[in-house]
Subunit: 384 residues, 4 copies
Amino acid sequence: MARKVCVVITARPSYSRIKAALGAIQRHPALDLKLVVAASAVLERYGRLIEVIRRDGFQIDETVYMILEGENLVTSAKSTGLGIVELATVFDNMRPDLVVTIADRFETLATAIAASYMNIPVAHVQGGEITGSIDEKVRHAVTKLANLHFVANTQSAERVIRMGEDPSRVFVTGCPSIDLALDVLRDPALDFDPFERYGGVGDRFDWSSDYLVVMQHPVTTEYPEARRHITETLHGVREIGLPVFWFWPNVDAGSDGTSAGIRAFREIKNPSRMHFFKNMAPEDFLKLVYNSCCLVGNSSVSIRECAFLGVSAVNIGTRQGGRERGPNVIDVDYDRRAIAEAIGRQLSNGRYPSTPLYGDGQAGPRIADLMASAPLSAEKRLTY
Amino acid sequence: MARKVCVVITARPSYSRIKAALGAIQRHPALDLKLVVAASAVLERYGRLIEVIRRDGFQIDETVYMILEGENLVTSAKSTGLGIVELATVFDNMRPDLVVTIADRFETLATAIAASYMNIPVAHVQGGEITGSIDEKVRHAVTKLANLHFVANTQSAERVIRMGEDPSRVFVTGCPSIDLALDVLRDPALDFDPFERYGGVGDRFDWSSDYLVVMQHPVTTEYPEARRHITETLHGVREIGLPVFWFWPNVDAGSDGTSAGIRAFREIKNPSRMHFFKNMAPEDFLKLVYNSCCLVGNSSVSIRECAFLGVSAVNIGTRQGGRERGPNVIDVDYDRRAIAEAIGRQLSNGRYPSTPLYGDGQAGPRIADLMASAPLSAEKRLTY
Amino acid sequence: MARKVCVVITARPSYSRIKAALGAIQRHPALDLKLVVAASAVLERYGRLIEVIRRDGFQIDETVYMILEGENLVTSAKSTGLGIVELATVFDNMRPDLVVTIADRFETLATAIAASYMNIPVAHVQGGEITGSIDEKVRHAVTKLANLHFVANTQSAERVIRMGEDPSRVFVTGCPSIDLALDVLRDPALDFDPFERYGGVGDRFDWSSDYLVVMQHPVTTEYPEARRHITETLHGVREIGLPVFWFWPNVDAGSDGTSAGIRAFREIKNPSRMHFFKNMAPEDFLKLVYNSCCLVGNSSVSIRECAFLGVSAVNIGTRQGGRERGPNVIDVDYDRRAIAEAIGRQLSNGRYPSTPLYGDGQAGPRIADLMASAPLSAEKRLTY
Amino acid sequence: MARKVCVVITARPSYSRIKAALGAIQRHPALDLKLVVAASAVLERYGRLIEVIRRDGFQIDETVYMILEGENLVTSAKSTGLGIVELATVFDNMRPDLVVTIADRFETLATAIAASYMNIPVAHVQGGEITGSIDEKVRHAVTKLANLHFVANTQSAERVIRMGEDPSRVFVTGCPSIDLALDVLRDPALDFDPFERYGGVGDRFDWSSDYLVVMQHPVTTEYPEARRHITETLHGVREIGLPVFWFWPNVDAGSDGTSAGIRAFREIKNPSRMHFFKNMAPEDFLKLVYNSCCLVGNSSVSIRECAFLGVSAVNIGTRQGGRERGPNVIDVDYDRRAIAEAIGRQLSNGRYPSTPLYGDGQAGPRIADLMASAPLSAEKRLTY
């Protein structure tokens, strides 16, 4: 009988990272995909990712509201708790053979805990990486709860194993987000009108010539700083004078600070040729990035997909702390001058060669095959 | 200003393990103890530990109900979630400088997550040990969330460090439970009437001569087996013919199975000279154990305190899986014959020499001193 | 298209009261029955009603754990809250056209609130009755949230209308529990062995001659008294000397006190010819009651079904406060002597004539028909 | 000993309605005020009312996050549930003698339920009024849970009594919001600069001459319509050409629609002399309203305070449905033309005479005195 694999999608970046695997699971004859869409993925305010998922042809088995309003440290904790309460009911009624959790968000942890206590084996995608902030604690805690580890590269695999995980359960599959980047490399034309398709607010402009893309999230352990940080970026980017596609932040402690900073800037400076989007289908977003002059902000896309796509990036602040990175990234502090200067350098550098730092574009099918064949057990023990 | 240290007490064994540290924190001039009593510690059905804590002279700052009825896998998960929801509110209103979490229970994890997301440093007592079951996942996940590690012995310290924790934040303090055992070693007389003081059900008997103590908990990953397991123990113990002090299980997935097994046995066999207790103050319990011929079951007291007290123990099943143990322990399977046989052997062995496997009895003051002096930060990063 | 009718079953008595309607809804061509089984109905400790429901041929669409351990006032409140959180997710995924809530329990209120806020019309079964305790507040609060009222008799209808409900939405259907009583009247033979079928603990005895049935629940506003109350009943009943079928209490604040009282009595008095059951299928229970000499306790069965069955009853205390009652009931205080005396009187009175105080046995089909035909709207307004 | 009175403040309008009573309770020698600030009152996004409360000189005993993100029907239900879970813990630790709940919001219901199940008497302020939408269900359900009723006028008192409440527990005190209006009548000068003190976004303008005030909330039972409704108002108001002080909506299912409508209008129309505020201290707000030409929208301030202040109002849509109103109100549908036309008529009408429809300005002290003297009991029974 097909193994019932439950994937919990909770946010835009998680969806991008798992989408290629979802397709592969759906097509795999020995697997039965069950999809739970929860947290910010169901919220209007974050662009109702759920509709993107539906349009992508996936059937959604359950939706769950689990985010407490407040976007601060207290509500992150409480949302984690509420997520566990809710997902336990979902798993109890669904009875999956394997639960898949992605990366390092609070919903990731909620998913892993609900499944672990219910003796359901947990597969973790994107363990073993290093970053700053609370994500760091959460990612490795999830590793300790997970039974199967699908990691992006050998460095990550090594770290997961050193943490005491059974090497026979750690698989270097690459990250499924790179599968989407490979599709884009093969067909890179920006063949849609971003304003038409995604609405958003702000000036519309000619996107057939040079432009920037910006995506900056608040850093949870630096909550009160979020507003100051985004303001530096806004000023630094404006100085360049190129048109900009700007993405609102994820739901996270502090995103109110980030959003407030953006709103205040728009109010006061009335910036021209800046357009603000809530959300975009992952492939569309990657095409937009591929055809840009530079990706600015603190998204992991700078480090991961852009390495593969050969797009230059300016990475701001601590959020991507310890991640392996290629030559395409310039790291800068929260400082408008440094940001402008780094973008300037990247504009003269132009495109970089493709580097498979986080995968070769085959992660999805590899993960699906492993899910179908790996021994499933919720039991584990430290290897030392 | 004194550091505000919040300790969350949720169950009988956790209290025994932290009590000596509580006293030391309370007495320390640079520390301000805040006590949250939650989960089974507030429940009538598990003996209202909260009253024991009050009688021991501790002031309780907040009580929290957080356990879902059901005692199965789903409700363990949901209780963890609800615990996070509740503790986040408590921490938000209390604003502690450090939160202390104990061992490897679901409430341990809830405490660590609530504090972690709120950027409050977490101290973990009893990390780095190895056991079977879900506790194994939870204990190491808590290690990945904790900032200070107070471990029982050098083997545990080594494991915590190998998992990627900063060695300067890992302290071999011994387990505070051994501090209580040291008090008992110094004054071992069974100077109270267990029946008088603790009530309970079942025959009363003469406890001045030979008797056994039994404490057996359900193993969460073996839920449906709990009833069968306890029945084997009940038969095995009865065969010995000695009077028995028997302790009801903790709240845990499966304890209904264990309790049901005990109730059915009492109903059908009407066993003589078996008395059943819900709870006992930790020191009274250790005196009872010290003066017994053998501790039977799967409590970690067999492995930890009994090593120090030199009391023989028969440890049943997988629950204490990988823990370091001294010569005082005989391990057996869930089998009435093997259990009876092992008890018989221990009866002829008699008392063992004291071994400081899990501490030397000075853990409490050491932990308090470290809490007062260690650098406090919620930030951390894998060491490799 | 058939209307999707979602019934939430949460406890043994609620099931008895709705079962006849469930069958009628299931058979109705214009209705599509959706069943949520939640709260104590899924708990081992309360006899896993869920299995009875399955054996009765109903398909269960969702199970929900929502009861906090503690059985006190705080946890009743919290269970209500958690129930709303959970049921909102269930209703959101299920999208029923009508939600049915039964009587006056905290789950009743949770169901009504979740549906009300989601603009789903609410049908309330058993509104307009008068009793003591918190149930009184809850029942009428549910009336104010409900859109359709299926009440047991004209007095109840009048009260619901006087509270400002639209008379065209208030239907005197009788209580579906009387439908089951009618089946029993038609085929009253006690044609099963209660001990065989339902297990339980305590002496087995010859049930072909005279016996009593006892069912006593804690009264939530008299929490600390629960143990004293049950003890009076235990003594009063034992004095009679007849064999007894005794039922453990529902989950409710205080049921621990009731259960503890029963356990202590059994421990100390070792009563002969008293057998204790957790649960019974409603029809089996009614047959047992029909063939008994008297029903003792504070169950509403004394007032409702027994009036119809013509069985004598001794009703103890305040729990059935203001309910309409027939001549078959003698009311007494929590007093062993008064209880024994009243049972004695009922034994000499013998069987009573049947009175259709709470229905004529046709409620189920009537309710189903009304659900199929009544206008459905979540809107309402006070009539004055 | 002073009675411990716990007031739960959850939103801007509730604060305005209770503030005068808070002061009176605080000053009353026989009362001990305990303040819980929760729900949208603690959220940045809704203007952090909590800071206004602190500045007003009240000490806050507990803050509670309880609102689920989503602002739709599901999350309103879930927030109610979570509020009960949280408030039960707060009440359990605080042990108040009386809990006060205000008006008809979901938090009102959560507060009433938590207290009711814990046998704490509940005082309800503003029962017995008639409006449309889910508020109607909630307000009367709270009446059925409350033990003391402090109502605004005799019509409300009559309705509460007709619903079966004990007349000796129903008190016509007037609404404390009118106490604030009385203060404003006595000292009506707009003696602060709204832009300076409250920030906000949009054009600043000369507020010494004619201006409008707009406050429009989404109507929960008309959720999908919220955006269309606000758009009609925006166009209708703009047509008048006067400068406008506009207030963002409360947190409620649909407020995202309202907010989105406002944002889109600003984006596209770039309206001049419209300034948007999140929040204002109640007295400042009333001064602003007093000095305006007309209050437009669907706030109950139009009906209540404006009657007393003699300010003309245009009330849009169903939200204030059945409320008693004075001659100062013109009711219109969601239609830009009708809105503009009604504002025009009010501009020519000018100021109205003061009508004490909802109180005479002495409610606060009256309520405090009654709280100190009324018999407190959580028990109640329908009067018929």
